[in-house]
């Protein structure tokens, strides 16, 4: 089932676009903060990994050249996804990228019963943490796209916009 973007009410559009921009802002700043901090590395987070994939994440952290690539992809990934969501530019791809990245963060260090992490958390979490919630919010954005309503996707996917459809019908 696909909900057509024309069917959103103003309130729905406002809420969805606001959610998209806020998540975009968060990604964008996370990326910028990492790029501009010469000391930042994902090594600590990866080395703390638990659960099924801990071996994989740990091996990423222990190989300095691989770690360099991981840090690069992560920082720039965050920046580009953030830009995509805020600008509404290639929104679908950016949203999918964001879901993938958050899924990696989640499975690297899931807050399951019995797992403890040295990194202090700012709240209390059991199975569900803010990473999982942000991930779910991005799945919502994927289900209810808004890039062609508010965003550069209007220009990129001009032919798919309601405005273009309406123009076409008016001339028909």
């Amino acid at each position: 089932m696909r909900v057509s973007v024309q069917q959103y009410s103003s309130f729905q559009v406002t809420a969805l676009v606001a959610l998209r921009v806020l998540i975009g802002w968060h990604f964008f700043y996370e990326g910028i903060a990492k790029l501009t901090n010469p000391y930042w590395t994902s090594a600590g987070y990866l080395a703390e990994s638990q659960w099924w994939f801990s071996g994989l994440f740990y091996s990423l952290a222990t190989n300095s050249s691989v770690l360099g690539v991981v840090d690069f992809l992560n920082s720039w990934g965050l920046v580009l996804i953030g830009l995509g969501l805020m600008l509404g530019c290639l929104t679908r791809a950016a949203t999918i990228g964001g879901v993938v990245l958050l899924a990696l963060y989640y499975i690297a260090a899931p807050p399951f019963a019995g797992y403890t992490y040295a990194m202090p958390a700012e709240g209390s979490y059991l199975v569900v943490n803010k990473v999982l919630i942000e991930l779910s919010a991005m799945v919502v954005l994927l289900a209810f796209p808004t890039g062609t309503l508010f965003g550069l996707d209007r220009l990129i996917f001009w032919k798919r916009t309601p405005e273009h459809q309406a123009l076409k019908q008016a001339h028909a």
């Binding site: 000391y39 090594a43 600590g44 965003g151 550069l152 209007r154 405005e163 008016a170 001339h171």
Partner: protein, 532 residues
């Protein structure tokens, strides 16, 4: 915001070009531009505040943000002359030193390979193979236990070697150290015997013109320390004592921090050891093949003050008895003291008191398992304190306490301003310096000191969870210390843990040992150069 108010100018609706878009439509496409304005306004505001804070801290401290000015391995010289090295004492430490010199026992290679196969993150083998080829061969071996002598010979001819040089000829075993040193087969010797042998072997080697790398503690007694110092000072041999902290980047950086006088007047330094397992308390494995037939017991106890019948415990767990070593003094206080001496250049203290007891490991040992020593340096207005227990694992680290700031030195290094600092008072009041977290941390292998980091990263740094690399490689400080010794043998210079600091180490440790054993405050007489 519904899409029913569409303005169109009558152009062809089939045009795919979005220039046909309404003004309102264009606004919707570019709606987030002002949001970026808000973002970057806030971003630059935060960045400017961070930069001001960082620059204020850095200009105040006048210490470079980068790694230590002199990183030992940065002065890398190709190993020119081939050196023939002997090993005397191939227990745990001897085997580790020889491996870090490029000769692992084949069993070790196999177990490290297996460990890597099971767990790709296990880098023991990789670290070993990435060592620099030091252009040496192990030509001679001496150990009073047959099994260990055999192991040393096997290691000397190991096929899997850094640099892929291939196997060397098997080393020759000597039953007595004198024969090894007199053989003419060695240019340099690594001494990793129990402490009661150090001085005899060192002095004999020095008399033969053989360079010496000796494990800590340098000697078992004060007199031996004088004898070793005199012998080395009157010779051309290169003497290195085995304190690998001399090669640690965080220790070298800590010295720079002291030179920049960031801590203000330092009145107290606390070095600590906390261990909580039998191995850490020297309850080492007794080898199943150890027996009067395989161990030359009489030779082993030759320099010991008390001769006793053959004892496996005493042979394999020698650190538990004053006959062979000095317990916590020579084993672990020596490391902490040498770290303090490297960073503060304190030298020999004026006085020492010590206390402690055998409180947990009541297994027949005569050295304490809980031990504190307090040294006074009235000329420096400084107390250096050492505190150790072998029955608790809480990490306390090494802390330098100044009026203006405290410095903690471990794998990483952190400096935290003091709430009542005079020097930083203004900056603390202005909110530039936060006394609840380090002013900066330095993590070896990273890009430098860090005046502005998140709490999370500081947490990782303090836990030592971040890996240390040098030039993209994990390097062992043992390897660097051996390399430093060989470099000086070949090219001249002063080894980082030379005879002068080694002598200070030995005397300082012996002051604590004597204070403990004699139950009194002992002093160093700088004129007669004696502990009194």
């Amino acid at each position: 915001m519904s899409e029913n108010n569409i303005k169109h100018g009558g152009e062809s609706p089939d045009s795919e070009h979005w220039s046909r878009m309404s003004r309102r439509g264009l606004f919707k496409a570019l709606f987030s531009i002002p949001i970026f304005g808000v973002f970057f306004y806030n971003y630059f505001k935060k960045k400017a505040a961070d930069d001001v804070r960082r620059e204020a801290v850095m200009s105040e401290l006048r210490v470079s943000e980068t790694g230590p000015a002199v990183i030992p391995e940065a002065i890398s010289r190709p190993p020119s002359e081939h050196l023939r090295v002997g090993i005397i004492g191939f227990g745990g430490e001897g085997e580790s030193l020889v491996r870090n010199a490029g000769f692992a026992h084949p069993d070790w290679v196999e177990s490290a390979t297996e460990a890597h196969r099971e767990d790709r993150a296990n880098k023991r083998l990789e670290t070993y193979m990435n060592q620099e080829d030091l252009n040496i061969s192990i030509t001679a071996v001496c150990d009073v236990f047959d099994v260990r002598a055999e192991r040393a010979m096997a290691a000397s001819a190991v096929e899997v070697r850094p640099g892929g040089g291939g196997a060397n000829p098997r080393a020759k075993r000597y039953r007595r150290y004198q024969d090894l040193l007199d053989s003419g087969d060695v240019d340099a010797v690594i001494i990793a015997t129990p402490d009661h042998w150090h001085s005899r072997i060192t002095i004999h080697a020095v008399n033969r013109g053989i360079h010496v790398y000796c494990e800590k503690c340098m000697t078992r007694t004060e007199q031996e320390a004088h004898d070793v110092r005199a012998a080395v000072k009157n010779s051309d041999v290169v003497f290195q004592l085995g304190h690998q902290n001399r090669q640690s980047e965080s220790h070298i950086k800590a010295r720079e921090i002291i030179e920049a006088d960031i801590l203000g007047p330092i009145t107290l330094v606390e070095g600590t050891t906390n261990r909580n397992d039998p191995w850490g308390a020297w309850v080492w494995d007794i080898h199943e093949e150890g027996s009067p037939e395989t161990i030359d017991w009489e030779q082993f106890q030759e320099p010991a003050p008390n001769k006793v019948p053959f004892s496996l415990e005493r042979f394999f767990r020698w650190r538990c008895w004053y006959d062979y070593g000095t317990g916590l003094s020579g084993d672990l206080l020596s490391h902490e003291y040498d770290g303090v001496n490297q960073i503060l250049k304190v030298g020999i203290p004026k006085s020492a008191v010590a206390s402690g007891g055998i409180y947990y490991f009541k297994d027949g040992r005569d050295v304490p398992d809980v031990f504190q020593a307090v040294y006074e340096y009235p000329d420096r207005d400084l107390t250096v304190m050492y505190s150790a227990t072998l029955a608790n694992g809480a990490y306390r680290g090494l802390t330098f306490m100044g009026h203006d700031a405290s410095m903690k030195v471990s794998g990483a290094l952190s400096v935290t301003a003091d709430r009542s600092s005079t020097r930083y008072e203004q900056k603390i009041d202005d909110g530039i310096i936060d006394t609840s977290r380090p002013m900066f941390t330095y993590r070896p292998g990273f890009k430098g000191i860090d005046a502005v980091t998140s709490a999370t990263e500081q947490y990782f740094a303090s836990r030592g969870l971040l890996f240390t690399y040098r030039g993209g490689r994990r390097v062992s400080a043992y390897h660097l210390l051996i390399k430093d010794w060989l470099d000086v043998i070949r090219d001249g210079g002063v080894p980082s843990c030379n005879i002068d600091v080694a002598f200070e180490e030995a005397i300082t440790c012996h002051m604590a040992t004597r204070a403990y054993l004699e139950g009194r405050r002992v002093e160093w007489d700088p004129v007669r150069r004696r502990i009194v």
